[in-house]
Symmetry: C2
């Protein structure tokens, strides 16, 4: 996870947070709750989303451009890749491209599953590209877990349509989870943990909780990533003052208005001003 | 670019067809049925789809790059913009950028609605960006029609998930059409025509036909565009030989495998080899 020695201590180091869109704001929200004394710069590469349907080569090129913007232009001393697809397919490329510690969302999600699971059998739902990378399977296997992954391509559009408590969304979740349960049963799995492997899914967590088999624990990789970041980066920050509000800066490559309008649902408060940047392409 | 330009041939001029993805293959299919004696070069800008959520500036830049590839590298003498979003937002930019006749899908859709509608009140369903451009409203108004447009962002992902006859898709269509009917009623409309303003929608036309108010006619802008192309370009081609099969060439900027796998549903036959091209970005 760490690709370079930690930089010198400072009063308010910047944590760069990157996503293909604004789903990663669920990760920023979880981070800001735990480290309100940090300065945050968030990039949403909205001109080129969704990454979920693109190739590894293309995703790596896009993700490296965003990471370099955060480090070179924003002075980020830590990077959080708040995008499952980019974490799955481009973490190595990003670590090679920037001289700061880089944390993705896959490893923390797998670690949280490890802590939660008694049976050692884990289910993961995510986008197409994340599933096809088998990054969660590999991370789980390295921790002694067995994992079955399932692509759920309709869930992101449903969240972005605002149907976060719509009966159709519950039905779609039911279809996907039934297919996943059948797959797990035929592989002889006894799953007790479900990892939400996409930063959009926390917004429909209540519907997912209702649909899982009773006793199955739901792991939100946004929360797990923020916990890991706290452990990795926390000591570099001065203690938070009581009631301290984090300094947040937002950048996007397109669709500023949509980011400002929808982003608040993910961040849990108004996003405010989003600055347009051009990363090329 | 991986492919060398072919010299123009007066016997078999090339029609360049462009889409952000492979939905435009429904337009190519309709074209190839009517002009099997043409050579076709199709570009899907799959690295940068979907256009539907991007800004006019970005869409115009992307679309012009694809149009220039088709004209400069493929020798296209006619261009069909088989993408509603690009037709709505970038037709002028493309016409300024290339020296060949350019046909979009909006105008033919509006003309077909004009021919079909008795009440003069028309409904249009499309992507977010197409609706926000109000290109269909403007084109309809210019023909003396009143139009109400409705964005249906979930329909493309449902088609791409292959749920083209799934009950969930019918439910989503029902939700959207109910909202549209309520909007039309409150505006005092008496609609008798529904335009499918997205190249993905022909694949769920049977479900849409089931959901419309009885008596409302469904217009497929892919079909209308092919009819208009025949009228505009047809005289430049030698007559088709009996049973002639069109010469088809496919290019995409990413996700070749997905294009080859899913494209056949849109084209109505196997797509075969798709060539990867790099348009920058």
């Amino acid at each position: 996870m760490t690709s370079a020695p930690l930089p010198p201590n400072s009063q308010t180091p910047t944590i760069g947070v990157f996503d293909s869109g604004f789903g990663g704001l669920t990760v920023l929200r979880a981070l800001a709750e735990r480290l309100p004394q940090a300065r945050y710069a968030f990039v949403g590469d909205t001109a080129r989303l969704p990454y979920g349907s693109k190739s590894r080569r293309t995703i790596a090129r896009y993700a490296v451009q965003s990471a370099q913007f955060l480090v070179r232009e924003q002075g980020a001393e830590f990077l959080v890749i708040a995008c499952n697809t980019a974490s799955a397919l481009a973490l190595d490329a990003i670590q090679d491209a920037v001289p700061v510690p880089v944390l993705g969302v896959i490893q923390p999600g797998a670690q949280a599953a490890r802590a939660a699971s008694h049976s050692g059998d884990v289910l993961v739902i995510a986008t197409d590209a994340t599933v096809h990378s088998h990054a969660y399977s590999a991370a789980c296997q390295a921790l002694g877990l067995r994992a079955i992954e399932k692509a759920c391509p309709l869930l992101v559009p449903l969240v972005e349509e605002g149907w976060t408590s719509h009966p159709v969304t519950s039905e779609v979740i039911e279809v996907y989870l039934n297919e996943l349960r059948a797959q797990a049963a035929s592989a002889g799995f006894r799953p007790d943990t479900l990892v939400l492997g996409c930063t959009h899914y926390p917004l429909i967590r209540p519907l997912i909780e209702q649909a899982v088999t009773p006793g199955v624990r739901v792991i939100d990789s946004a929360e797990s990533t923020a916990e890991t970041a706290l452990a990795m980066f926390g000591s570099h920050f001065a203690p938070a003052l009581p009631g301290q509000k984090p300094e947040l800066h937002f950048y996007a490559t397109d669709s500023i208005e949509k980011f400002e309008r929808l982003g608040s649902h993910f961040l849990g408060r108004p996003v405010g001003k989003v600055h347009l940047i051009d990363l090329g392409g």
